[in-house]
């Protein structure tokens, strides 16, 4: 893309970093919270934290969809696979720990677990093998949910059902503000989720919580600009919703995608691993689409799985209370090769990102 270079322009980035140092507070530390694994990847990969003043702390909130899926839902996916159905899931889901094993470990025990790039792959597999039952483990935020809805509305093959585990970002952001000792000063909102939901769902943050909120893209200049915009608001004691990612995010979002989601899913309360129950944060199939529900078709319903293993601090990493390096297991008992907690599994997990970008040695 012709413009991509501009958002990676080192000269522009350097100037923004200089401006960040100018507007950053001189004494008090401000905390800017993002809620997107891809933002964490950009920040870590480009060494953005090392460019910031000591008074600017950028923390990662619950932005990794694989990390926040409760163990009970992973257990359900494993159970349908062990019962004989083919479990299809995204690549970074196969290693996420359930209460006692991951889908990959279930595969070792003989379950048929297959990695797909898209729900489309699951549909094609089910069409190719009509005599087998297939289940798609539908994990992801608002970015992913429309594709699940689209395939269901189209009329999936009769031998394909869904374990819907989609979750919504704004309720999790609101929950973050209720964590008293976090003291967040500004939000960087996730750009790709925002391409779908638009800007309106974030209005509550500046209006009700006086929280500067910047929707940002995923090039280094995007993230630096978002940090600068947030710091300017903090300095000027203003609270507004700003869109840095105008090339992809419109006020109304993606209307088609939102309509599809509304048609197929209802919003319910749900558990998030490491966080607990968040009201109105989870998508579930509406009555008219229950024939696609794998819970019904395969008679699985598990509650109360083991979300956090002994010693694992993922529940604190997920809400930005600690950095991965503060977990006693990080890069000792818990590594990308042998993950203990979910944050070390998903490509968007904060621990995994810190491990592969060697942030811990900086």
């Amino acid at each position: 893309m012709r413009w991509e270079k501009g958002f990676r322009d080192p000269k522009l980035a350097k100037r923004i970093v200089e401006k960040i140092h100018e507007v950053a507070p001189k004494k008090d530390v401000v905390k800017i919270c993002h809620v997107c694994g891809t933002h964490e990847w950009v920040i870590s990969h480009y060494g953005i934290r090392s460019m910031l003043p000591e008074t600017v702390d950028v923390i990662a909130g619950p932005g990794c969809p694989v990390c926040i899926v409760p163990a009970a839902e992973v257990d359900e996916a494993i159970q349908v696979a062990l019962k004989g159905a083919v479990l299809t899931c995204f690549g970074d889901v196969v290693r996420v720990p359930g209460s006692s094993m991951s889908p990959l470990e279930a595969k070792v025990k003989g379950a048929d677990v297959r990695v797909v790039y898209s729900v489309i792959d699951a549909v094609r597999m089910a069409e190719r093998e009509p005599n087998r039952e297939f289940v798609f483990f539908a994990i992801g935020f608002e970015t992913t949910a429309p594709s699940t809805a689209a395939e269901i509305v189209k009329g999936s093959p009769r031998n394909l059902s869904f374990l819907v585990s989609h979750r919504l970002i704004p309720p999790a952001m609101e929950l973050m503000l209720g964590i008293g000792d976090l003291q967040i000063d500004a939000f960087i909102a996730p750009g790709h989720v925002s391409t779908i939901i638009g800007l309106e769902p974030y209005e509550i943050f500046p209006k009700a919580y006086r929280m500067p909120t910047i929707v940002a893209g995923f090039e280094p200049v995007d993230v630096l600009l978002a940090i600068y915009m947030a710091l300017k608001q903090i300095k000027n004691r203003t609270a507004a919703l700003e869109n840095e990612y105008k090339r992809a995010v419109r006020w109304e979002g993606n209307i088609k995608a939102k309509e599809l989601m509304g048609r197929v899913f209802k919003v319910v309360g749900g558990n998030w691993r490491g966080i607990g129950r968040i009201p109105d944060s989870t998508l579930a199939l509406k009555e008219e689409y229950l024939k696609y529900d794998a819970h019904e078709r395969h008679s699985v319903k598990i509650s109360g799985g083991r979300d956090i293993r002994p010693g694992c601090q993922c529940h604190l990493v997920i809400v930005g209370k600690i950095k991965p390096t503060e977990c006693p297991l990080f890069m000792k008992a818990c590594t990308p090769q042998r993950p203990v907690g979910p944050c070390m599994v998903g490509v968007e997990g904060t621990c995994k990102i810190w491990a592969v970008t060697s942030q811990h040695s900086v």
Partner: protein
């Protein structure tokens, strides 16, 4: 999981399009967007989720260059 990759639409056939991901061509479902040949789209898990606005991208960069230059001038005074 929330990663979306930009690609250029090179062929449209109903709900499906061929998209060029910087040299790699893949089939993408474009039923969630109104995309035509030549458009840049954001692709997530096989689906285009949004059409990118090239004009907006260039304007954003230009605007920020101007703002930063102006702020630099003001801080030098």
């Amino acid at each position: 999981m929330c990663l979306a990759i930009p690609a250029r639409v090179i062929e449209v056939n109903g709900d499906l399009a061929k998209a060029d991901f910087g040299g790699v061509v893949r089939e993408v479902n474009i039923s969630l967007v109104d995309a035509k040949v030549g458009d840049y789209i954001l692709v997530h898990a096989g689906y285009a989720i949004q059409v990118l606005d090239e004009k907006e991208a260039n304007e954003t960069l230009e605007l920020w260059r101007e703002i930063l230059a102006l702020e630099e001038e003001q801080s030098e005074r």
